[in-house]
Structure formats: C-alpha cells, structure tokens
Symmetry: C2
Subunit: 380 residues, 2 copies
Amino acid sequence: MPDFSATEVTRRRFMTRVGQGVLAANAAGTLLPRAHAQLRVPDPPGKKLGWAVVGLGSLAINQILPAFATCEKSRVVAFVSGHPDKAHKLALRYGVDPKNIYNYHNYDTIRDNPEVDVIYIVLPNGMHAEYTVRGHQAGKHVLCEKPMANNPAECQQMIDAARKADRKLMIAYRCRYEPYNQEAIRIARSGEMGPTQMILADTGFKISDPSVWRLHKQLAGGGSMMDIGIYALNASRYLTGEEPTELHAMIYSTPGDPRFQEVEEHVTFQLRFPSGTLANCSSSYGYFHQSHFRVMGTEARLVMDPATWYSGLHMYKEQGNTIETMDLPVVDHFAAEMDHMSDCVMQNKQPLTPGEEGLRDITIIQAIYRAAESREAVKL
Amino acid sequence: MPDFSATEVTRRRFMTRVGQGVLAANAAGTLLPRAHAQLRVPDPPGKKLGWAVVGLGSLAINQILPAFATCEKSRVVAFVSGHPDKAHKLALRYGVDPKNIYNYHNYDTIRDNPEVDVIYIVLPNGMHAEYTVRGHQAGKHVLCEKPMANNPAECQQMIDAARKADRKLMIAYRCRYEPYNQEAIRIARSGEMGPTQMILADTGFKISDPSVWRLHKQLAGGGSMMDIGIYALNASRYLTGEEPTELHAMIYSTPGDPRFQEVEEHVTFQLRFPSGTLANCSSSYGYFHQSHFRVMGTEARLVMDPATWYSGLHMYKEQGNTIETMDLPVVDHFAAEMDHMSDCVMQNKQPLTPGEEGLRDITIIQAIYRAAESREAVKL
C-alpha cells in the first residue's frame, strides 16, 4: 500500500451551470426525439402553467406545495384527494379555488377544467399508472413521482397513453434538476478526473411505521429498492451516461420483522456498464439514513454526501493532495423540476427525464429482484 | 425520502483501548486453541526478541525497518536478501551484524543462529509459502505479510509446517493491531449503533509501473483483490466477527492495458453473513487511492477514511444529528504487530491473526474469483 501524504483542503466557489445541466442529454447519453411540433400560439413571457396535485400526502404537503412559491412557470390551481377536509384546508392556504378540488371518483372530469395544464401524480407507486393514464386521457400533461410504476408493463401503458394523447410525460427525478448532481454529471463525464472506473452509491433510511404504504407490495411494488435504492441506480446511470449490461444482487430482510412481511429491507447490487465501469450500490430500509455517492476516476474522486436529500447537499473532489469543496447554488428541487416540466410543455420539448427514463429504472429493478432470487448474474 | 435536519458536529477524545483490542477474539469471534505449553524459562522484563527480515523491498525499507525503533519487544538482528550491497548498507544503518546477512541460498543456515527468534517474510506473495516453511524448518517463529500465500494449499502447508515445528505463525494484518480499527471492531460489535446492517468497504489505488511483481500472477497470486481488496474483505470479517456464507463478484480489467495482462484490475464483491449482515466491497488497481469503510447500524454509522493507511487514519460516528470524531492514539502499525508477535512467542500465546486467519481470506478470495468467472453466487 502506498503511503499517501497529508491532504490539503481548499474551497472555491463554482459558477452555476444550472441551465446548461438541465439541457444536457438524458441519462443514456442519447438525445431523445422531440414530439412532433404542435401548432400553437407561443406562451407570453411570465406565463405560469396551472398544476393539479394528485395525492396530498406528506411529500405533497411538506415539499411540493411549498415549492410552488419559488416556481417561475408553474402555479398550483387544483387538488385531487380522497380527503376533502385536508384538501379544503390546503386550498385555503395555497389559494386554490374550492371548485378545483377533485376526488378519485370525479378525477376524470378534470378534462373540462382549462385552468389545469399539468397533473403531478404524488400517489403511492401502485396507483401511478392508473392516474397517469387517466390524466393523459383527460388531455393533460403528467409529471409522475418516482418510481414510475410497479412494473415495466405499467410504465409502458403510461408511455403509450402519453403518446396517444400527444401529451408530455415526465418522471420526477428531481436530482437531475438541481446543481450538485448536474455538476457531478458534468465532472464525471468530462474526463477531468480521468475515466470513471467505478461508481459507489449507497442510499437508505430506517423505516419505522409498519403501516405505511411503502411497506405494502401492491401499493409500493417493492421495498427499499423501489423507493430509495432507485436513487443509487439512477445515479449510476446518469453519472456514467451509460446503460448497464449485467447485474448481480443480494437481498436480506430481517426475519419476523413486521415491516418486511411483503417487501425487502436491504439490497446490494452491482452493475456492469459497456465502458467497463462497475457500480457497487446499496439500498436499505433498515440502516441509519444514508445518501452517499462516489465517482472514482483514475486521477481523482468525487464524493457527494448527502447526495440526494431535499437540501443541504455536500460535494467535494479529491485530486492529488487537494480536496476541493463545491459551493453551488441551492435550489428547490421540486420547483426546478416542475418549472422544467412547464417549460417543456410551453416550448413543446421532450423532458430530460421522460417516461422512457422511468421505464429503464423499473426494468433494471425487476432484473435486480430476479438476480437476487436466482443468485445468478442477469444480462440486460 | 425523509427530510433530515442539519447535523451537529462535535469532537471528543477517547480513552485508549489498545491492549484490550489486541486481546480480543479473532475475526470469527471464536477463541483459538493455545499451542501446548512449552517448557521454558520465562523471559526477563525488557527482553527484546531478535528478528530477521526476509526481503528488503520498499515495504521493509520504508515501513518495517524504521518501526523497530519504537518496538518494545522486538529488535532487528538479521537480513535475508538477494542484494548484498543493499543489505550491507541497511545493516550499517540499523546496527545489524554483517555476519547475520543471509541470501536465499544460505537462508536455511539461519537455524544455527541463536540470535534470530522470529522471521518476518516480506517477499512477493508467491514466495511466502516456501520461505515461511523453510523458516519453520529452521526452528524459527514466522510473521508473514498479507496475503498469506497464492492459494489455500500453500496456506495449509505453512500452517502444517508451523505445527510440525511447534513454532508460531502469524499473518501481518497490521490493522488489527492499531487503535482505530480496534475501536471500530468494539463499536461495531457492541451494539451501540444498533445491530450492524451492512458493511461498505472500498480499498484501492492506481498502480503505475507495469513491471512491478504485484502485476505478475506467479509472484502475486492475483491482482488488486490479493493486495488491497483483502483489506476490505478482512475488515468485513473483523467488523462483523462473522464468516461469510455466500458471495457474488464482478471483475473488470481494462483491455489491452499492459498492467493487467496477468492479474485483475477492479473487483466488486458482495458477502452475506450468517446474522444477515451484507457487505458491499470494492478493490481496485485502477482508481484514485481509496480506503473507506462504513459500518451501517440501525441507529448510527461509523465511517473510517482513510481506514487502513499506515498513518493519518480518520474515524467518526454519526448518530442522530451528531457527528463524533474520534481522536485515538497514533501507533506505528508495524511496531505494534511485531511486538504482538514477540509477546506471543515469549508468553506462548496464539497470535490474534494466526495462519488460519490468513487461510480464511485466501479461501474467500479464491471463491470471489470463481464467482466472477461463473457469474453465479458461490456458497462458502
């Protein structure tokens, strides 16, 4: 083992590259075809599209609704909820007209509401496909939370519905819309650390309440891998700009633990990419919270910790004997992704993370489950 | 994903537990049988055993020989080298009697030198078995560098030779003899972070010179896994105190790279332990240097980075919203391990890391190579 000398720590301020990052290629490094141009009058400067939020759980209440305050192109105009009391209280707080409160029975009548341009699906995973398809059938554009759906077939139904309705479908991979992960993508793919040799990505948290929908197979589609491991998987793909060709996985769930009767607790998975880069990743509902990415180049490493939290992201590059901490602009991830979606609708552009991007992750997650079950590598 | 609030950083000084750690159980958590008591006069207090260093490469010159200055129970009295000029220069510097300089031909006559109690094998891996066996046949105790040998059969020959000669055999797992890793073992096994859910261990460096013996199969036995990945493997075992029952692995070596014509470059491997703990590890000769361990408990995480370097180790525990950095006594790892060996000889005790410990790692490494080749899980 070489003897490495003490490391010098420096800090410098980086220029923002927010817009540049958002306009980059998709995770696979390929440019996706634009939907055919629609004949429409250009939107006036300063116009905000109207959004309906479907599902008023903690993510919607604590993150998404407050984020509209910083949106430049998006405003909340409608709710879809099974809890009218909650919906009315929130409507009062966010200035939503009570006539624009829908429930799951009259949801389809949202087609008759010209105020709603975009629907944001914030329901349990197992409901994503149905409510996305119904949203498209109502003629609306849809932003759907990750993971896209319970399985690839549902994802394909969503993609098909969007195509048939000629409406946009975007998956809410918020990390693609915030500066730290965007800069990490730029650095990792630029070659400035030498070719990327390995991606190490670990994401998880300890889930406590056995009654939450995330622990029920039908609603969640799976366990930690679907909910939090997907961040490590998606990052391995966007940091390399490649698609994995082979994977291994191991799963362990504590026997008898009431939280893990239906879905898995821990997953470790390894991905092989065409360039030779390997990714070594973990996902957990049982360990202390973690969100840690490392991009290992031949000449340097990029470390992100936390890499994916809603705020407080931290990133540094270690090269030679120098540690360079990066202070990037702090943005509201949800506002950034919603405005990207609004912009795509207004400009008739393909979102950076369209339905096809969500489908890829779900297809790989299914392969991870098969690999863990079979104890063999799965080729993709 | 939960929203985690800002983390408070504190620092406190820890009491040393050096001796306690050294006297702990071996990696498997089992106590090894003592060799039968030898009839001998107890050594006087302050006595130092005489050591012969076999192989005067960079590890011996830069780390091991200087370490004798801080040893309390060990002194260097002999060299075995194929380079007489180098040996004589070093003999002058370290006060070694020129008559105690051996070469590889007259090595066996060391049996007639009563000044030599212990032989330290610092040769290329492929020579460990032969020179250890010959050392035991010369009636000496042997400390052998890691990895123990090229394959399990050679390891077994070494164990058998030690038993036959009734002499000690220890493998130089220096991390077991220094306070940071010892404290990590105590914390990980104490349950104070909750049960260990996962071990994440990544070790590697970029090897530059294609001519070094580490890149030649016959001398090295394998590539990065044998040399540096063994730290991650050994740590997964000593941090859990368990033996893995199943593993997966992937290997990638850059095609056409002159460094990797005979041995592998990158390895990722995953281990399953009986308690359910999973370990996700990597090893590399191609990425920027790295020595990073994380023990993921349900309530906290322990992070070591660097975890295994000769000096400058850094360790902290993150629990709740607190980061506790640990300032432990800094010791010379090589002096600590050599004194442990001398102590075991003087007290007729089994070393903490005997030949059986080295054999376990080599057996698992062979299984890692088989798993990577077969693309299937290997049961142990």
